[in-house]
């Protein structure tokens, strides 16, 4: 719980921080431009007044002066702290000043050069113009304070600050809520996965259709569980195969020895018994060696090597392995549908895993049909390789068909036939790992048909 809150808090803080910064920048920008534009507007107003002042004091005729004065009083409001200054300037003057005003030299120089200049100090705005009359030059400066804009800007400041705080709080709250939602599927997944342990490795996560990261994660998890389950079941399978295979010759050896020791027997009889024991012991040795080999190829710790293999060879290896374990079985390979073109027999996969899968299916067919005929067939359609295993055995009851892939499940009609319920789930997982499909059709008392299909090796075209 602690860890989860931290990440989700981190995300919320990060998101809020970024948005707040953006908002802050925006506010600053708005405030800056509002101030600049309002200043420009005020300067224009001062400029008009300066021009009029100039005209008023140096009129072309008497009437003009009073007309202008009236215009000014009627139509131009008096700006707060408005004052006007007029100063004559000689052309040769190099430095200027107007008593009562502290204006920088730049200002005066600009007035001379461009006939117009503006300056702002604190709340005071200054506009200056150059007025030439009768050969003389005069500087007219009008100054005022921009009370109106001062209030507006103050309001704007308040609005922006409160808006900023409010928006940030809202974003933080929404961010917190939504980041919780985002983590919800991950929390659910964690919950589900917590329940998976060695007893129920066959559980899988629900994967919703779609390509988003969460479904991807679920799918990857399921793949990993497939691999884990396969390797786990391989080990179980090995142990069960081993115990079964080793017990048969051991039983013979023990039986033979006990029988021979029951009473006094002739030397020939003892020799016969020893011969049988030796034969069985050698058989035991061969079995142990092949089991070891099976274990070594399965668990040598190296990464599964995927090679291009020939499906018919795999099938024959599996057939041979099954025949060794059940020598009385009758396994026939039906080549009637085998493709002529050997390219259509190539698949890509891990050899020992595929052989193991096929062997398990064939063993099931032999075991549950009590060594009646088992037919193996191989065929390929354009994209898939298909292997069929058909037997005449006890079949699987219809309502139990859906459970046959559950590990350790044994159908109700298996009776005295020994088994551990591992072979079929393992085989299916192996086939699944190779992007294939395993389907079972069965009729009780009549037989079972297993159909294994997986993609052909396409020569690496795609």
């Amino acid at each position: 719980m602690q860890q989860k809150i931290k990440t989700h808090l981190k995300i919320t803080l990060l998101y809020t921080g970024l948005t707040a910064t953006a908002f802050l920048l925006l506010s600053l920008l708005v405030y800056y431009f509002a101030e600049r534009l309002s200043a420009e507007d005020f300067y224009k107003r001062l400029d008009i007044r300066a021009v009029l002042v100039g005209q008023q004091h140096f009129p072309l005729n008497e009437q003009e002066s009073s007309i202008i004065k009236d215009l000014r009083n009627d139509y131009l409001e008096r700006l707060p702290h408005e004052r006007e200054y007029i100063q004559e300037i000689a052309d040769s003057q190099s430095s200027f000043s107007i008593p009562g005003l502290q204006l920088p030299q730049n200002f005066y120089r600009q007035v001379f050069a461009e006939q117009q200049a503006f300056y702002k100090k604190g709340d005071n705005y200054y506009a200056g113009i150059l007025h030439r009359q009768n050969g003389k030059s005069f500087i007219v400066v009008v100054t005022a304070q921009n009370e109106y804009i001062k209030n507006q800007l103050l309001n704007l400041r308040y609005i922006l600050v409160f808006g900023f705080i409010g928006a940030t709080l809202l974003i933080a709250a929404l961010g917190w809520f939504f980041s919780k939602q985002i983590f919800l599927p991950i929390r659910k997944m964690t919950q589900k996965v917590r329940n998976i342990n060695t007893e129920n490795l066959h559980l899988r996560l629900n994967v919703l259709k779609g390509n988003d990261e969460v479904s991807d994660l679920a799918r990857t998890f399921n793949n990993m569980l497939d691999r884990l389950e396969t390797s786990f079941e391989s080990q179980n399978n090995f142990v069960s195969n081993a115990s079964h295979e080793l017990s048969t010759p051991l039983t013979s050896i023990i039986g033979e020895a006990e029988l021979a020791l029951q009473k006094e027997r002739s030397p020939e009889r003892y020799r016969e018994a020893m011969t049988i024991i030796l034969k069985e012991a050698e058989r035991l040795k061969a079995i142990v060696q092949s089991l070891l080999h099976l274990a070594q190829t399965g668990f040598d710790g190296k990464k599964q090597v995927q090679k291009v293999l020939r499906a018919d060879e795999l099938l024959l290896s599996a057939r041979d392995a099954a025949a060794r374990i059940y020598p009385e079985s009758r396994i026939t390979v039906d080549y009637t549908l085998m493709p002529e073109n050997e390219e259509k027999l190539r698949v890509k996969g891990a050899e020992h895993l595929l052989v193991l899968a096929f062997t398990n299916i064939i063993l099931n067919a032999c075991k549950y049909s009590e060594n009646e005929e088992v037919v193996l067939a191989i065929a390929s359609s354009n994209a898939q390789l298909v292997i069929l295993v058909k037997d005449h055995g006890i079949g699987i009851p219809e309502d139990e068909l859906r459970y046959i892939f559950d590990p350790f499940f044994r159908a109700s009609n298996t009776g005295s036939i020994k088994g551990y319920g591992i072979g079929l789930p393992l085989a299916r997982n192996i086939i699944r790992l190779h992007q294939g499909e395993l389907r079972v059709v069965s009729v009780q008392h009549k037989g079972t048909e297993v159909r294994i299909s997986f993609p052909l090796y396409d020569g690496g075209k795609f």
């Binding site: 039906d334 009637t336 037919v375 067939a377 065929a379 390929s380 058909k390 059709v441």
Partner: protein, 184 residues
């Protein structure tokens, strides 16, 4: 009145190639879209040794000759559904089994009803052989399907009955599967 004749609407292998010395035979195999009817293909391959084959699987349907039916194309879609994924897969399997011997494998529908019609149909396709079997009864998968034996035995001398016996009596379910294709 001109009837719209059978339309070929799918082909399994598009490329057609001939080898130099061997004459290609055109074979017509009526089918009821059951997988076991495809067992006639291996039978033909065994019967016509060393020949390259252009095989047409054909299904006879009674055609509706009213104008509205002729103008309606949806009927074709209904018929197309007979050619389902399982059948298609079985066709591919057989095609791969015989590799280059089967130059072309296609599926058609036949809408004719008279002997003369059949004669013209076979002549146009230069059919060398029409293959039927007595080893299993042909189904009639739709209402409009005609009886296969009646329709095509009218081809007279071109008809051959070949065996299509199933080798393994491992008949499991009424549903046909690839296993039905295993033959003697």
């Amino acid at each position: 009145m001109l009837l719209i004749t059978s339309t070929e609407f799918c082909t399994i292998e598009i490329k057609v190639h001939h080898s130099k010395n061997v004459v290609m035979k055109n074979v017509l195999i009526p089918t009821d879209f059951s997988i076991r009817s495809l067992r006639l293909i291996p039978a033909v391959c065994a019967h016509l040794d060393e020949e390259e084959l252009n095989i047409t699987l054909v299904h006879p349907l009674a055609s509706d000759t009213t104008i509205s039916a002729l103008l309606r194309s949806e009927k074709r879609h209904r018929e197309a559904r007979l050619y389902n994924a399982g059948f298609r897969e079985a066709c591919e399997v057989i095609r791969n089994r015989f590799g280059n011997r089967i130059v072309r494998l296609s599926v058609e529908f036949y809408y004719g009803g008279t002997k003369a019609y059949l004669k013209h149909y076979l002549e146009a396709r230069q059919t060398d052989l029409v293959v039927l079997t007595k080893d299993f009864p042909y189904d009639r998968p739709t209402k409009e399907s005609r009886d296969i034996v009646t329709t095509f035995s009218a081809a007279g001398a071109l008809v051959t009955y070949l065996p299509a016996a199933k080798r393994h009596s491992l008949l499991l379910t009424p549903e046909s599967s690839l296993a039905d294709l295993l033959y003697a």
